[in-house]
Symmetry: C2
Subunit: 196 residues, 2 copies
DNA sequence: TTGCTAAACGGAGGATACCTCCGTATAACT
DNA sequence: AGTTATACGGAGGTATCCTCCGTTTAGCAA
């Protein structure tokens, strides 16, 4: 009687985890191609699960957007962690920003999905905001401590600028434009420019 | 027989124009509150027209987004026109950017709708891009000609930065953040900073 | 292994929203 | 006032959403 079902939780079932993973993969693919309004039944079909399974794991469309997005954010956080070993703080910041641009470049319809879920779910905004802000914050603090950039700009500010720059990413040449903007922005951040 | 119906077009009916206007007003309101996925039947109800009327004027959801958005863009272009009389070119640019932030601040769910339509309809992107680019371009050229800012940044670049900065506009304090970013950006644009 | 049970699966089906179609109403013109 | 092109509105067919529940299966204990 030492293992009453209420007390000791069972190990989660393997098929549940597997199916959850399958649905996430399928969702990423389907939304990237078909945009935010793609059919959820199509996602279930692509994942090879029943529609009921999809809804059990992700009760709303937004939940699904959310789960897909969370993964992406975590990958960006890892990248920031790696860049801490870059010698020049300003260059580390610049390179993270540039890498993020590349990262975003592979998505497409996901941006609209992101816009929807950000609008509806402020908890997710907080989550991703937290992750990304911490990533940027670490890079930023190093650069400020080294006296290389001004200290009145927060990580939130940088994040906002970055996301914004990637926003209109469906026009030709957008990558060049964004990379140029990032340089302007980083220049604007620098101290010791001998201002008049 | 001098007025065959094929040759001489009738004046468009007054009720048609009126209803179109009503639907646009209703759509702006409904999408702002309910987001991009709001029911079109709700829009028709709010406008006081039949669902058929809505669809005749705007065959797809995207067409409706588009029409609403076009108006907004035109208003911004008018603002730029007025600002041409501002004495300091850099200040004119800065003020247009700031005013645009205020302008965006009144919308809400419209941003997600915008993301969708921009993603799907590149013609609209071109239209708004053209309008806004011309607006910014005029302000920018004045400032460059006056030797006040660097000349290797295009109006496209500025537009991209601006839209981006307004992107995450659902977080508290976003306006302060954006206004701060704009100052950084304009600082980054300035020439004659005595670079090391 | 075998049996037991909680957990997960899947898809039928009611509800909702989309969108077309066409009979009715009405503004513009003579 | 009569004529006609134009617009209106909503019924209804279709697609998608999402819930509910009978069936299946993975984990656990003996």
């Amino acid at each position: 009687m030492e293992t009453k079902p209420q007390d000791r939780l069972r190990k989660p079932r393997a098929d549940a985890q597997r199916n959850r993973e399958r649905v996430l993969e399928a969702a990423k693919a389907v939304f990237s191609v078909g945009g935010a309004e793609a059919s959820l039944e199509a996602v279930a079909r692509q994942a090879g699960v029943g529609i009921g399974t999809l809804y059990r794991h992700f009760p709303t469309r937004e939940d699904l957007f959310e789960a897909v997005y969370r993964r992406e954010v975590e990958q960006l956080a890892e990248l920031a962690e790696e860049l801490k070993s870059e010698p020049s703080p300003v260059e580390a910041l610049r390179r993270w920003l540039r890498s993020t641009v590349q990262f975003v470049a592979t998505k497409k319809g996901m941006m609209a999905a992101l816009a929807i879920v950000m609008n509806a779910n402020s908890e997710l905004a907080a989550y991703s905001h937290g992750h990304l802000t911490r990533s940027i914050g670490a890079l930023l603090t190093r650069a400020v401590d080294a006296g290389e950039i001004r200290n009145d700009i927060s990580a939130d500010d940088v994040l906002r600028a970055l996301i914004g720059m990637c926003y209109m990413h469906d026009q030709t040449g957008w990558q060049q434009s964004v990379l140029r903007l990032l340089d302007v922005f980083v220049d604007g951040l620098r101290v010791a420019k001998g201002r008049a």
